[in-house]
Structure formats: structure tokens, C-alpha cells
Amino acid sequence: METFPSSSATSSGAGILTPDALMVILTWVTFFILLFILQKYAFKPIMENLQKREKEIHDALENADKAKVQLAHIEEEKQKILNTARAQGIQIIEQSRRTARDLAANIETKSHQNAWEMIQIAHEQIEGEKQKLLKTLRQESAEAAITLAGKIIKENMDQDKNRRLVEEAIKQL
């Protein structure tokens, strides 16, 4: 180690900074061959794969976004339908309630009327019956009075006079 290993050029500097043209050319050649080989066989597929994957992710994200927007639309429509359905339901309920109330009122009035009519008929019937009863009662009481009076006034009664008296008495009743 007492002598420095010298490269081809002798210069004043130490061996560190000596220029060596062979090495420079070797580096150039190796680098460009490496660049050519890698570009053809390695980096083209890698770049294509990267781009393809990015496109796939981009498309998937776009589809996800579109699906989200569609979902929002469907949600809106669903809400609308629900709202209309609810409104219709309330309407139907109201209507049916009203009809029920009207029906109930109708039935009430009708039944009132029926009852009133029946009561009227019953009254008339009762009146008729009462009149009939009164008439029969009068007749029977008149006949009873006549028989009684005939029996009491045995001989004084003429046929005609009897009849005339009885008729006047009936008239006066």
C-alpha cells in the first residue's frame, strides 16, 4: 500500500478526481441499454397497468356517485308517494267518518220519525178503541138503564113512550 493505485492519467490531484474516459463511456452505454430494455419490457406494462387501475377506480367511483344520485331520487319519490298515500288515507278516513256521522244522523232522524208515526198510529188506534168502547159502554149502560127502569116502572111503560124517553135520554148523553 505504499504506492497509490494510479489510473491511466497522471494529474496533480489525488486518485479521487482523475478523469477516466473509459468509465464515462461505459456508464453511458450501460445506462442507455438499461433504459431501452426497461422501457420496452418493464415500464410500458407498469405504466399501462397503473393507468388501467386508475381508470377502473375512477369509473367505479363515478358509478358509485351516479348510484348515489339515483338513490337520492328514488328516496325523494318514495317520500312523495308516502306523503300522497298518507294524505289520501287521511282523506278517506275523514270521508268515511263523515259518511258514518251522516248515516248515524239519518238513522236517528228516521227512527225518530218512525217512532213518532208509530206513536201517532197507536194514539189513533187507542182513540178509536176508546170511542168504540165508549159507544158500547153507552149502549150497554142504556140498555141496562132501560131494563132497570122497565123493571122498576113495570106497567107504566108504553111501547112508544118508552122508546121516546129512551131516545131522549140517549141524546142527552
Binding site: 479521487i16 468509465m23 456508464t27 445506462f31 433504459l35 426497461l38 422501457q39 405504466m47 397497468n49
Partner: protein, 257 residues
């Protein structure tokens, strides 16, 4: 080992381990003498290129819908470079077109750096003859490709900032023009210096142990710690190289922003 045959000298010890040479010392094997036209760092470069080809073309499974394992890792890196580094600086269509170049650059530099951290291999990027071509490619893209794509007028629109009154313009345009060269040189030097300094520090610490015997054993702990730190520096420097390349090229292609 050293004390018996030669007195130990720290300088040559460090330089021997850091410089490019035509011999490869492996344990339990005789010294491998490399041929004249390829040196140790050259072997490292070719080795790294082979590993990258095997990794990308062999281990990558095509046609997976949800990637797993190495496929996932590689795709994550490519996507990171495309979305964070190229597209913000170069726009959409230029960014996608340039992504393979920046990916290759990133993995090449990262692979070379990482190979140097393995104890028996050497760091090729600690050789300035390796970082110079890589920075020169960026320089080429900055100047020649801009001239090709946007014409001479576009090139000048990139150099001249807009909305500046013309007396100051005379001062600024040479500075901007010089700035192109300076940016390239700093790119090259930054990577080279970081890698080299890391190795030199570790070798210094180990050399301390050899010099002072067992009294310097805490230096071993420090050397291990610095090796761990250097892994972070490796990733960071590869990322910075690619980021700044994209930044400079983007400044030339799209000078409006």
C-alpha cells in the same frame, strides 16, 4: 496484518479502499485481476444493471388486478415518481413520457449506492467518472432537447425571466446561462461527494481502531452507526438527484411556472 509487513499508513489505506482499481479482493479467494478495459466500478455498474433487469422483468407479475409483493413495491415507486416528481414539474403529457427515464435514473443510482454499502463491493457512484455521465444526460436534456422541442426562441424564453426591464436583463442572461452549467456541476458533485464522504468517514473510524488497537473500540460502534446513517443518505441522495433533474428540465421546458 499490516504491522508485520508494512507500517500502517492511514492515507493509502483509505485511498486503496475508495479508489477504482483493477483488482478485486474477496475473502478466501485469490485476488481477482480484472482485465485492462474494465475496472472494479465498471463491474459494479454492469452488476447493478443486471440486477435491475432481473428485478423488473423477472419478478414483476403482469395482469394482476390487485398487486402484491414485489409487484406492489415497484408499482408504488413508479407511481410515486410519476405523481410527485415528474408531473408537478413537467406537466401532464411530458411527465408521463419522461417517467421511464426518471425511474431508470432513480433505480440505477439507488442500486449503485446500495451495492456500495455491502462490505465486499465498491461504490461506483463515488467515482466522479460515473456521476458525470448521469449529470451530463440531464444537461443534454436541458439544452439540446429544449432546442429541439421549443426551438431557439423557446430556449431564450427559458433563460430570460419575464417582466424584467432591459438594463437588468443584460446582467441576468449571462448569469442564467452560466447557471445551467453550474446546476449540472452541482448535481454531479453532490452525489459524488456524499457517497465518497460516507465511505471515507467509515474507513477513518476503522483505521483508528487499527492504529490504536483495542482502546479505540467505541469507534466500532460509531462506524456501525454511521453505516446505518449512510443508508438514509443513499436513498436521500438518489431522490434528490432525480428531483433536481426533473426540476431543472421542467424549468427549461415550461418556463412559465
Amino acid at each position: 496484518m499490516y504491522q508485520t509487513t508494512h507500517p500502517f499508513q492511514l492515507g493509502p489505506y483509505i485511498l486503496h479502499h475508495v479508489l477504482d482499481s483493477h483488482e478485486w479482493h474477496l475473502p478466501f479467494l485469490p485476488v481477482i485481476h480484472l482485465p485492462e478495459f474494465i475496472s472494479l466500478h465498471g463491474v459494479m455498474i454492469i452488476f447493478c444493471a443486471l440486477i435491475l433487469v432481473v428485478l423488473f422483468c423477472g419478478f414483476y407479475r403482469h395482469g394482476q388486478r390487485v398487486p402484491t409483493g414485489i409487484t406492489n413495491l415497484l408499482e408504488a415507486f413508479v407511481q410515486f415518481i410519476r405523481d410527485e416528481i415528474t408531473i408537478p414539474f413537467l406537466g401532464q403529457e411530458d411527465g408521463v413520457q419522461f417517467t421511464p427515464f426518471f425511474c431508470t435514473l432513480f433505480f440505477f443510482i439507488l442500486g449503485l449506492n446500495l451495492l456500495g454499502q455491502i462490505p465486499l463491493f465498491a461504490t461506483a457512484t463515488s467515482n466522479i467518472n460515473v456521476t458525470f455521465p448521469l449529470a451530463f444526460i440531464t444537461f443534454y436534456l436541458m439544452t439540446v432537447m429544449t432546442l429541439q422541442k421549443r426551438g431557439l426562441k423557446g430556449f431564450f424564453r427559458a433563460i430570460v425571466p419575464s417582466g424584467v426591464p432591459w438594463p437588468i436583463l443584460i446582467l441576468i442572461v449571462p448569469l442564467e446561462f452560466l447557471g445551467i452549467f453550474i446546476k449540472t456541476v452541482t448535481l454531479m458533485l453532490r452525489l459524488f461527494a456524499n457517497m465518497l464522504a460516507g465511505h471515507i468517514v467509515i474507513l477513518c473510524l476503522l483505521g483508528l481502531i487499527i492504529l490504536f488497537g483495542l482502546w479505540a473500540l467505541p469507534a466500532l460502534v460509531l462506524a456501525i452507526f454511521f453505516s446505518l446513517l449512510e443508508i438514509l443518505i443513499v436513498f436521500l441522495q438518489a431522490y434528490i438527484f432525480v428531483l433536481l433533474s426533473a426540476l431543472f428540465i421542467g424549468q427549461m421546458y415550461h418556463p412559465d411556472h
